[in-house]
Symmetry: C2
């Protein structure tokens, strides 16, 4: 077992460079959800900010380090939320941001990236192709490549959510975290295990994009073929070894959920909590729906990590 790349004091210090608009987000019990789930449920809401996802925490740390080092341009691959957040953080620091995304990415996310003044390049294929193209641009143009989850700043920023979860002795027994590249899961997991070790850290991924979960279970990087999920924000195929290493140190479990559970979770969050969430943000609720016995009578907190959806697609999912 290796050492973690995460560091609590660095995470605490990160709060100083993150715009307060991304910090101290709502954390509240949502009783209206509970009859349908059979357990107590709290919400950590990461959508009420200028980029409608938790990614601003990480890109604020990234952009502040780049600015401190005199870097003037950066490129990242993104399913949409990282790109939007990096565009936002870069704009405030006069950083030229290029975002590479799949042509099939959520249109609302791509529109916001453009509106925030970033250069957007679309690639055929999926997120892994976007990652390759971003690396190519970085090499070719000699600009800085920002890699989600691999760049420790993205994990450190996301980890500040964990500080807010355990600021007071937590009343919850488990935290349910969407698992994609792993920045949020490793970051939040690290803080929770350091400061509230009794709280179970459960990562949740779609059955249709199981690479990181399979890797966690097998304790080695497992890549997969094409993903098949509406949860675009977590649809990777090639886990990053360093991130898996960090995840193995903090996750108590990693579970996979079906698409219909993700949709049911989105619908419950809309009808009983009044929250419009993207599929990735409903993974925690989906995990409870698929294993009620495990959570019965317990208190879970789930991080509502993003709310960027295409209105038509969202409508089709929740009102079908």
């Amino acid at each position: 077992m290796g050492e973690t790349r995460l560091d609590l004091s660095r995470i605490q210090a990160a709060r100083q460079v993150i715009d307060p608009v991304f910090l101290d987000t709502p954390l509240y019990r949502c009783e209206a959800l509970e009859p349908g789930l059979g357990c107590s449920v709290s919400i950590k809401l990461e959508t009420a900010n200028p980029v409608r996802s938790f990614k601003g925490r990480g890109t604020e740390v990234v952009a502040s380090v780049l600015a401190d080092n005199g870097v003037r341009a950066a490129v990242c691959a993104s399913a949409g939320n990282l790109g939007q957040a990096l565009a936002w953080s870069g704009r405030g620091r006069r950083l030229d941001v290029t975002v590479v995304a799949s042509r099939h990415a959520t249109v609302a996310k791509l529109d916001r990236i453009r509106a925030l003044g970033a250069r957007l390049e679309l690639v055929d294929g999926d997120h892994e192709q976007a990652r390759e193209r971003a690396a190519e641009i970085a090499r070719h143009e000699g600009i800085r490549l920002v890699e989600d989850s691999l760049d420790i700043e993205t994990c450190t920023g996301a980890a500040t959510i964990g500080l807010e979860l355990v600021r007071t002795p937590p009343s919850f027994d488990a935290v349910l975290i969407a698992l994609g590249g792993g920045a949020m899961a490793t970051g939040v997991g690290h803080v929770v295990k350091e400061l509230a070790p009794g709280v179970e850290v459960i990562c949740v991924q779609p059955l249709g994009a199981p690479a990181m979960t399979r890797s966690w279970h097998e304790r080695r990087v497992v890549t997969t073929g094409p993903t098949n999920t509406i949860a675009d924000g977590v649809a990777g195929r090639r886990p990053i070894p360093e991130v898996l290493g960090d995840l193995l140190l903090v996750a108590d479990d990693a579970v996979l959920v079906r698409e219909e559970s993700i949709i049911a979770g989105m619908r419950m969050l809309l009808e009983h909590a009044g929250l419009v969430v993207e599929p990735s943000a409903a993974l925690g609720i989906a995990a409870v729906l698929e294993d009620r016995d495990r959570f019965a009578g317990r208190h879970v907190v789930t991080i509502i990590c993003g709310g960027n959806v295409d209105p038509a697609a969202y409508h089709g999912w929740v009102h079908a």
Copy 2:
């Protein structure tokens, strides 16, 4: 001109008795709304809490005063949000809460009042009938009547929103506040005028429920016949003289908006901000839509004061 009933030091002190879950709510610029509105727009979001409206701020102050005075039971009339919030605040302080509401109130609000353990009594007729019945119950049972906007604690609690708006020197030029009974408008308006007097305080009410706005313009209480608006939270007919007096001291303007503008505002908040809001919470956006020239190039902040809707009704409004 009388003296205000509001007091800044009492408002500041109120933060100590309000559960933190209601305080320090998100305040953020929402650029995605701006192309459609022609001005800069910030959101103060009061829906991400256990009762999905700003009313918890006031009921926390009310309930703490009642508990301090050994009061064991209270009754209020409510369109639904005050009742839900008083039920929540009362439950934590072993206070027996009775809520009187119109039979035509939003079902989701009534369900939550019951779920929170309050006694719910429904009356035929509108909110004014509910107010009469609540007063009757208070007299008959000898329990404490809580009157929204008249009881200064409800205004003091709501006014804490104002403290958060002006905590840092505000970048906005105007604050748009839904006007119903007047607790929020007088409370927030008082703080803004005390601490950031250059910011315009604009109250917004539906054309179909114009009593308080007409009263403000005529500088005397004007009552009206039956209201006709989907904005149930602000649909009163009989302004309270003391509250009008406070409002006259702080509001720079009071405007009326059409139902179609309220619906357009709800739709914009859903599509461009991902927010499910009740009609009252869209009044500020509606005011911009109806008078773009007035706000062109300026920066407004609007308080998203509640998000309790019946899913079917909401769907009918925004997707019609």
